[in-house]
């Protein structure tokens, strides 16, 4: 992971971002998908939970734009509702991981005594490949929305903790932190107004990238069989359910996988652009 080479000028970053066409496209796609997911009930006339077994696995047609899934439900509808769930897991999980990891990293940098302990604990978490971590947690807490969110959050947390600690350390090296202390500001406001306000950009960048990983992890856990119970729609589970029919009705897995890919790609492009924009080495 690149370390924080942040210099502190937010406006320059914004200008660079707006100039990048990739950002516009990625952001546009994400907003489109998010809106479609939120307004799903109004966009489609099909019920995502009404089964019609004898209409299962039909290819795309005029009536069903993307065909039907393994229970005869309209696939487009299922994907829209599935995007809702997947985005929810990604958002909530990453938010949870970012808050936790950000806090840990900032505190580790601020309270030097805690640094060693915190970082060792983070190292332990980092030693687990995120998949196995997610797998174990999902197996213990049982299948369900909460366990997926926590599993995703915990696997994202260590990386964010490292980044926020790095960012915080470089901010701490600046003069204004010492001057803030010398005038007697309480820790809380030092942490909030000075540290967080100045250290957030790399945290934000990494979080955006982490979002992509979070969605991918959720989908993979669903594929490996630890997803949500029926009839909840979730993109990874839909891809998994379609994998049994890869040879006779590939449209189910393919459509779900492509949607996952587009969402993750958009987040990664956005994150990359953020990183490049904030990087002082880019001219």
């Amino acid at each position: 992971m690149t370390d924080a080479t942040y210099t502190g000028s937010g406006s320059r970053t914004w200008r660079r971002l707006r100039r990048n066409p990739m950002v516009t496209i990625a952001l546009g796609v994400l907003i489109l998908i998010a809106l479609a997911a939120i307004f799903a009930p109004w966009l489609t006339s099909f019920d995502p939970y009404e089964t019609a077994l004898r209409q299962r696995l039909k290819p795309p047609s005029a009536e069903h734009l993307l065909g039907t899934d393994s229970q005869g439900r309209d696939l487009l509808t299922r994907l829209l509702y599935g995007a809702r769930t997947t985005l929810l897991i990604g958002c909530a999980g990453t938010a949870f991981g970012a808050l936790l990891g950000g806090a840990i990293g900032l505190c580790a940098a601020f309270y030097r005594r805690l640094d060693g302990v915190f970082m060792r604990v983070i190292d332990v978490f980092l030693s687990f490949p995120s998949i196995l971590f997610g797998l174990s947690l999902a197996a213990i807490l049982g299948p369900g929305l909460d366990s997926l969110i926590i599993a995703v959050g915990l696997s994202v947390m260590p990386g964010i903790a490292r980044i926020s600690r790095g960012a915080a350390l470089s901010v701490m090296a600046q003069d204004y932190m010492d001057s803030g202390r010398s005038i007697g500001l309480p820790d809380r406001s030092l942490l909030g107004r000075y540290l967080l306000a100045n250290a957030y950009p790399p945290i934000l960048t990494y979080t955006t990238l982490a979002f992509g990983d979070a969605v991918l992890l959720a989908a993979t856990l669903g594929f490996l069989g630890l997803g949500l119970q029926p009839p909840t729609a979730e993109l990874g589970s839909i891809a998994a359910e379609g994998r049994s029919f890869l040879f006779i009705a590939p449209h189910v897995s393919t459509a779900a996988s492509i949607l996952i890919f587009v969402i993750v790609l958009s987040f990664n492009l956005l994150g990359d652009a953020l990183r490049d924009a904030g990087d002082r080495r880019a001219s």
Binding site: S127, P129, I131, L135, A139, I140, R243, F261, V264, D272
Partner: protein, 313 residues
């Protein structure tokens, strides 16, 4: 330097102990009861009690943990509660194929990524550069399972390569044909980050002072790239590859499942799902330890290659 390395090793040991603790605790809470699983669908309560006693599952948790630690130290990781196989023996047997798979993935992916990154760095800002960056970001975004399944479809239709299992050691024709598809699928997730890192560090290095000096002194472009720029860029790349081993392991879990590759990843997934906790613990600890080991190795390589790094830490 030795002192630094020893301290690093000491810290890694603490991390490993933490991994052991978390691994043990996590798996105590799993809802699956192996005694019920063994008794089967028609098992009566008496049968199950007898099996529990037989497996020693009725002892208090603290006692089980103490026994576990004392045995791990001597290399005994227990027996699978499902079929009584020795966990350490199974892990050793599965370790080879996993290492083989990861190496095979790296053998083709790293040189390819280096090549792409070099190409992009040399033609910075051009079409090639943008293409390489696009491909690498797509590589990171695509779900590994989808790639694997697409490969199976392709292989099944063309009957070109075997799609499951391991055919033998890497240096035999049979072994090579079996490892081809899984290694390709797994390697794809490596190409993106490495290509991108190569391109970034190399293009920086190409514009660095000492390289400009070499050019000014009249060295050919080829010499400049190979001797000066590449050498500077190599270090962060080694670090990155070391870090990617964690991602590779994660990808290996999915790849091994899809292609029935007999490695530790498949062992881990299977044992977690079936509630075989000694085996699951062993597999997770093995993977975590391997990752820690790789980290240390990368640190050592860094130290040896560039002693300046130590003073910067």
């Amino acid at each position: 330097m030795i002192a630094r390395l020893l301290r690093r090793a000491g810290i890694s040991l603490i991390v490993l102990a933490g991994v052991l603790l978390i691994g043990f605790l996590m798996l105590q809470v799993i809802p699956a009861d192996p005694a019920v699983a063994i008794a089967g669908p028609q098992g009566t309560d008496d049968e199950i009690e007898a099996i529990r006693r037989h497996l020693g599952l009725d002892q208090p948790i603290l006692l089980q943990f103490v026994w576990y630690i004392s045995r791990v130290v001597t290399g005994d990781m227990g027996q699978s509660v499902i079929n009584n196989a020795s966990v350490s023996a199974e892990l050793l047997r599965a370790a080879g194929p996993t290492i083989e798979l990861m190496c095979a993935a790296m053998i083709w992916a790293v040189p390819t990524a280096l090549a792409l990154g070099i190409l992009a760095a040399l033609r910075r800002g051009g079409i090639v550069d943008r293409l390489v960056m696009a491909v690498s970001v797509m590589g990171v975004s695509v779900p590994v399972f989808w790639v694997g399944l697409l490969m199976i479809q392709f292989a099944a239709r063309t009957r070109a390569f075997p799609i499951q299992g391991r055919g033998g050691p890497l240096w035999t024709a049979e072994g090579l044909s079996h490892i081809l598809l899984p290694a390709t699928a797994l390697g794809l997730i490596l190409v993106g980050p490495v290509a991108r890192m190569t391109r970034t560090t190399l293009s920086d290095a190409l514009h660095a002072d000492h390289v400009r000096t070499a050019r000014a002194k009249g060295a050919s472009e080829l010499r400049v790239v190979l001797n000066h720029a590449l050498r500077t860029a190599l270090l962060p790349i080694i670090t990155l590859v070391g870090l990617q081993v964690g991602t590779l392991m994660g990808g290996a879990v999915v790849t091994e499942t899809i292609f029935s590759w007999p490695g530790v990843g498949r062992l881990a997934v299977g044992s977690i799902i079936t509630g075989d906790y000694p085996m699951a613990q062993g597999a997770i600890i093995f993977l975590a330890s391997a990752f820690i080991l790789v980290n240390i190795t990368v640190d050592v390589l860094n130290e040896l290659a560039d002693p300046r790094i130590g003073s910067r830490s």
